[in-house]
Amino acid sequence: MKFQAYTVSKYNFDECMKCTVCSVYCPVLQVNPLYPGPKQAGPDGERLRLKDPYFFNYALKYCLNCKRCEVACPSGVDVAGLIQAARIKYGQDRPTLRDRLLASTDLMGTLARPVAHVVNGLTGLRVTRAAMEAALQIDHRRVFPKYSGRSFESWLRRQAHAQAAYKDQVAYFHGCYVNYNYPQLGKDLVKVLNALGVGVQLLDKEKCCGIAYITNGMSDIARKNARHNVSVLEEAVHGRGLKVLTTSSTCSLTLRDEYPALLGVDNTGVRASILIASRYIYERLEAGAQLRFKPGFRKRVAYHTPCHMEKLGWGVFSERLLRRIPGVEFTLLDSACCGIAGTYGFKSENYEASQAIGVPLFEQIRAVDPEVVACDCETCKWQIEMSTGYSVEHPISILAQAIED
């Protein structure tokens, strides 16, 4: 008897057994009754959408794309991929001015940088935030990230000569956040890598990874950025023979997985060379590299695994790296979504849900009462700092503080 060797369906939705574990792990479903949940929105809805795009449900916009459904799925269904792809394919809501502003992280960064102190002052004012709420439906309770007066790129460019002196070399996809808001994280990475004998190079003009464009209904711009980024990544990987490191879990996931899955941009030539920095450093240390730690370093650190880090399967590297630091008293926080999901939590209509999702995490942080929360994701950082008052630092920054200057 001849039978089918494999079932092949887009995003593996035929493989869904309806076990519903995805909906159990969906943070949105717990707090927002308007959201149909990943099973309904994903594999179930897909069968109806294949019949007629009319069956597309506007409520899919409530998906925060945390990917916890995909991590939970025992059948390998790309549940979040199905949902985001449906939004791209069938979504009719045109992005609003608010969505465009939130999504354009690199443009906003470029504009804000020269006048950073003015912008920072303004976004801190209650009156500005009330105006943004009224005009743009950006929630007034949200705290905005500060802009830096000098970009990371210009800082590293000045270092190029010094960096070239190191024996080993890597390229660094810093992302918008490090470039415009928090160059210190990039500097910390350079410090750690230099201490390991590794020099850091820029890509040939990276662009925003595009995740905020994807989730805000501007996949055309995201696709353009993706094509550009893949070509500059190819130049670094194949032209210069470099690994490409990242510090943002979401940028990593977008570059590696969302490009082919959601934007149809082939990245097979570079995908395996894109690594989160903590993995690269961990592996070098495992291979025998040494770091000189400050003798008196003491810190109580609680590590929050960002959802996209879980999806990548890389949370363990940041965890192990932190545990290696002498003087670190380490707590691994329970797996939970903080609720912000990039630009999602900035929108007025999502604010309540966003904060409700984060409650278990916030409560655990308060109970553990660490000196600092460690986390690889910039938006988790904003959310946790705003919602708990605890300061949040990247594992690489903590590592940089712990080693000798």
């Binding site: 039978f3 089918q4 092949v8 149909p36 179930d44 059948s75």
Partner: protein, 530 residues
Amino acid sequence: MDAREFDVIIIGGGITGAGTQRDCAMRGLRTLLIERSDIATGATGRNHGMLHSGARYAVSDPESAAECIRENRILRQIAAHCIEETDGLFVTLPEDDPHYQATFVDACRRAGIRAEVIDPAQARRLEPSVNPALTGAVRVPDGAVDPFRLCAANMLDAKIRGGQVRLHVDVTGFIREGDALVGVHTRNRLTGEKVDYFAPVIVNAAGIWGHGIAALAGVDIKMYPAKGALLIFAHRVNQMVINRCRMPSNADILAPGDTVCIVGTTSTRIPYKNLFNVAVTPEEVDLLITEGAKLAPSLASTRILRAFAGVRPLVSADDDPTGRSISRGIVCLDHEERDGLKGFITITGGKLMTYRLMAERATDLVCRKLGVDKPCTTATTPLPGSEERSYEAVAQRIWEAPSTAQKAAASRLGTDAARLRDDRAGTALVCECEEVSVSEIDNAIERLDVSTLTDLRRRTRVGMGTCQGGFCACRAAGMLARAHGDTDKARKDLRNFMTERWKGNFPIGWGDTLREAEYTQWVYKHVLGL
């Protein structure tokens, strides 16, 4: 409810019986329909669910082809909520006779069927799933029709017009007066209750079982039971019907139908004694996958949901071993003329597509016998639910921002979706795969003669999705138990339902379908303790 006297009794709750009851009721007759099982359990519900343009029969059976296209146009008008206007392709593959296309197109045009020869590249654009190796394509007005919905809507209309329906009731014998039939003895298969009903005219619309009904009345009809096997795939791969452009043969139609697509059929003669237990063989599954993949290559790697088979009620005189060459034409027998038996009519042959015409012919004969002079209006009167052409318009009119389940309800019930309750309990989902809500189940129980879960499935699609009842059957069983006030019965019903679902999974029980069945078995046995 207690009436025993009618103008006409119709035996058979397939589409022919339901259509005949509707037509009779519309001409003012007091009607009773008796069905031994449930609506659409025979050939009516066991086919592609295809709104034939007639093109398939254009070469071999021009008369049926012409009937098909006429009825095709009528159904688009009167049964909008049961059909989907998808159009179809007749594709020529490299292994097919390249000259057949010209013969085919010519025959279509003579039968009045719009047949447009299109470029293979255009065919691939219109229907991306089609075999890219195709060398020719013809576009015809094929479509999809939901036979369960069509059958239920006809019966519902008959009931609105005063007709009565008895499901799960066997006709055990006829009551004679001299050379005329005047009534039937019946026995309810669920309760055992025996009742006699009387009418001056009795219509045998029992499909392939019509042979046995005729025998009960003492007349002989030569029927030709031809089994056809089909496979249901877990989702739609095609939006248009895909046919092979060749003389009708095995597995040469792939039809979209609601959330799935169906490939078939085979054609094998089977003995009468096997009518109640038609199983699909591994050879048939092989053939359907192999041939199906020639229509749309992706079928070879698409999850198969079920295999099923039906028996065509062909009427035959000759001894064609396959039954392919027998006309799908309508046979309306006046047994008074043919056998000297008054008050008995058999309506058979034909097809799902021509049910309305069959009903018209039978009803004309009934009226002649009763001396009633009223014209047939079924071709111009929409079925209940079909008063509006598009479900999109229906949903937008009823709900401000319809959910997927509400949109799905509008696609299944048409304008009748306005009857559904919108409260929180009513909008909760029973069937997650097909998005069937509590209120839709309530509506079926209330208006559409539901005794068992299988009855409910035919009317609502509960249990037809990829979980094959795993999640919805137990919920629906609970609702039936409450409606009927009988938990034990509902529990037995649930067991029968799940066994029946497995029967369709078994012939294709591998891969994801097997995983799903295992999972369901685990849920029912270990979680629910059933």
